[in-house]
């Protein structure tokens, strides 16, 4: 099972890195999307799958990264702008983390959603006060470079999620998910670990937002902080399965391919299918695609 997962992951990673060499724009676009959603869903899982604190506001980290990146592109080298986007998201998570993570269950879900909307509106006000209703971005690196960077982020997020799960940190986060008071009692520094997981899960989405923005070449706050991004991340991670590192990869893969299929024929159906799938999985397949894969292969 471990071996199969590693082979599958390696195949995806190598395939993703080779695709830009083909020069096929459609394939590159597909790989870019896929790597993006894997990176986002894996990052989300570092906090939400491990601790059970379900964030419905991860678009805020994507948006902040995109915003910082657009402000810096052209001023500093491209790599520095991306890193600054990631750092800005991490710092933001660090600043809001302690108070936000005191809130549990459905209240945490609503709070993260509300915070993301708040930041989206603040950025929209700032931009309209500055008289800009969207920014064009110039000096963008080639699409091949963007795809390579995004695939690298997908790989990094997956390795990061695996490292978190299989470390002492992961054991502590699992204890927090199961019973916070008991975790604290046996020595788990609950507040510190939750904050650490929150910052870890916010960092890569910042860089992802920056890359996604550089691809479109155009920044518009309503789009960069679109709550649909948050909904999609949660849906992919839950449908993929929260119990394994493989879950977010399967969820992202399933939905990216599904959206490609629908995009050509019935684009207006995409959101409906997203919703229906989420409901169906929560009701009937709580362990997600990952659990189905286990069963199909005759284990667990």
């Amino acid at each position: 099972m471990k071996a199969l997962d590693i082979i599958f992951g390696l195949a995806l990673a190598i395939g993703g890195l080779l695709v830009p060499l083909s020069g096929d724009a459609y394939l590159m676009g597909l790989v870019f999307q896929l790597a993006m959603w894997i990176a986002l869903a894996q990052s989300w899982s570092m906090l939400s799958s491990t601790t059970g604190y379900l964030s419905l506001g991860h678009a805020v980290f994507y948006g902040i990264g995109a915003y910082v990146c657009v402000l810096l592109t052209g001023v500093v080298p491209f790599g520095v702008a991306l890193a600054a986007g990631a750092a800005a998201s991490a710092v933001f998570a660090g600043l809001i983390g302690l108070p936000v993570l005191r809130v549990q269950g459905p209240y945490f879900v609503i709070l993260t959603y509300g915070l993301a909307e708040l930041v989206r509106n603040v950025v929209m006000r700032i931009e309209s006060a500055l008289g800009s209703f969207g920014r064009m971005i110039f000096m963008v690196p080639s699409f091949e470079v963007l795809v390579w960077c995004m695939v690298a982020l997908g790989i990094l997020a997956t390795l990061g999620a695996a490292a978190v799960r299989h470390s002492a940190l992961g054991a502590g986060l699992a204890a927090i998910r199961e019973n916070e008071v008991a975790a604290e009692t046996v020595g788990v520094p609950v507040a510190r670990l939750k904050l650490l997981a929150f910052v870890a899960s916010a960092t890569i989405p910042g860089a992802v937002g920056g890359l996604a923005l550089l691809r479109t070449g155009y920044f518009e706050p309503a789009q960069a902080f679109d709550p649909v991004i948050s909904f999609t991340i949660v849906t992919m991670a839950l449908v993929g399965g929260t119990e394994t590192v493989r879950g977010p990869v399967l969820g992202a893969l399933g939905f990216t391919l599904l959206s490609e299929a629908l995009w050509s024929s019935l684009p207006q159906l995409y959101m409906i299918v997203l919703g229906l799938t989420l409901i169906a999985f929560i009701l009937f397949v709580p362990r997600g695609l990952s659990g189905l894969a286990d069963r199909a292969l005759g284990r667990g």
């Binding site: 054991a171 008991a182 975790a183 020595g187 788990v188 520094p189």
Partner: protein, 239 residues
């Protein structure tokens, strides 16, 4: 100074004085009993010592160090761990994982993997959960979950373990086994215990000294024989 030193601790919940100027000194290696009717303040005293509840006034010192105001996780790492009267297992994790978290994060931090394994195995063995180690904690019986509470506390490597009614809900055979387990742990590992128990027979057998609380106040203190002869205790306890 005693190993655990509670000095003038009071705790007020609104209009209720849950603890009123309580002193308590526990020596290293002893088994210290805490007795009192429902609402006497035993669990509140545990919570104050373990850092879950901040005292209104008073101080707690452990091993020569003031621990009042520290978070429960830091108090645990200082060497004190408690169990809960209403069990709090990590239900979705295996029995072994429950205990392992305690070994990773408790006062045994920085231990090598091998010595953590030893700690986990010993803790499971001493409460008789070795055979169920792979099963989910949520699937244990109540008695099993009570024993898991103890195993987790032991695996933190604590020098002082506070047990809150671990015998409640156990049958007489299980109580007998538990008494042996605790006595053996003290002998072999020199662990100090503070125990709250409604099963008075068990408390009398096990404890070196007993403190009796009533409505948050200390009304008697002494060896089990002295407490057994105490008229005042008899009055408030047995009516």
């Amino acid at each position: 100074m005693a190993f655990l030193d509670v000095r003038g601790v009071s705790k007020r919940f609104g209009g209720l004085m849950a603890l009123n100027n309580v002193d308590m000194s526990v020596e290293k290696g002893e088994i210290f009993g805490l007795m009192g009717a429902n609402g006497a303040g035993k669990t509140t005293l545990f919570s104050v010592i373990a850092g879950h509840v901040a005292p209104t006034t008073g101080e707690v010192h452990f091993n020569g160090r003031r621990i009042t105001g520290l978070s429960p996780s830091r108090i645990c790492r200082a060497g004190i761990c408690r169990t809960f009267q209403i069990v709090r297992p990590f239900a979705g994790l295996s029995v072994e994982e429950n205990v392992r978290v305690a070994a990773i994060y408790g006062s045994g931090r920085g231990r090598s993997r091998a010595s953590r394994d030893t700690l986990v195995n010993e803790a499971l063995e001493s409460v008789g959960l070795t055979r169920q180690r792979a099963g989910l904690a949520g699937g244990l019986t109540l008695s099993g979950q009570k024993r898991l509470e103890i195993a987790r506390a032991l695996a933190t490597g604590a020098d002082l373990v506070m047990l809150d009614e671990v015998m409640a809900g156990l049958n007489p055979t299980e109580i007998g086994e538990m008494l042996e387990t605790l006595a053996e742990l003290r002998r072999s590992r020199g662990i100090t215990f503070v125990i709250v128990e409604h099963v008075i027979g068990a408390l009398m057998t096990l404890s070196d000294r007993i403190l009796v609380l009533h409505h948050g106040e200390r009304i008697a203190f002494g060896t089990p024989e002295e407490i057994g002869r105490n008229k005042h205790v008899e009055e408030v306890y047995f009516g």
